[in-house]
Subunit: 115 residues, 2 copies
């Protein structure tokens, strides 16, 4: 155990007033919806209930200027969902923010002894 | 609600292998123990059980080269606890890390529209 490496995990949560808007978990949910085209599958892949996932999406959509996720009905993929362009831009911005922050964190911690 | 400000909260969690070592909550616990000289009072002020607080301290002490918190017995303040010099240095390092990271985050986000 003494030889185990030290690692750092950073999270940024974005609030609108007191309301949670975005964080690592919510971004992952958006990414999975983009991947699967389905809220149900995205939720399942994160071991989250559909109800919980839909609640998070409603919270994000209520805060964002444009919806980040839209449900689609009818057609072959009836019941599916898409991440909108606004949603995709939000994912990208958050990913860039985290990348920059993690690079800064690496610089800050490489010469520090924590143990 | 539309006029509510956007705010950012960052957290850094430090792991030793898979074992959680430090994070915002644990650092706050150390700060409160330093403030109160008592694990029980520190825990109470954070609405945490003594059992939970002591469990966290044991985890931190097991990972750190030197204990971060030591229980004191006997004397007027029998049952008290102190944050060791190693613990104080750890609090300070974490605070400096967070300050630098938050300054970087502010620079990164000041020109970004999130909503």
């Amino acid at each position: 155990m003494a030889d185990d490496p030290i690692s750092f995990r950073v999270n940024v949560r974005i609030f609108h007033g007191e309301h949670p808007f975005l964080g690592k978990g919510r971004i992952q949910l958006l990414e999975r919806i983009e991947q699967f085209g389905s809220i149900a599958q995205a939720a399942k892949s994160m071991e989250m209930s559909y109800r919980k996932a839909w609640g998070l999406i409603k919270e994000m959509n209520a805060i964002a200027r444009e919806p980040l996720v839209e449900k689609q009905s009818g057609g072959k993929s009836g019941g599916g969902a898409i991440v909108t362009n606004a949603g995709k831009a939000t994912i990208r911005k958050y990913q860039q923010l985290m990348q920059s922050l993690e690079a800064h964190l690496t610089k800050l911690t490489e010469d520090t002894h924590w143990i």
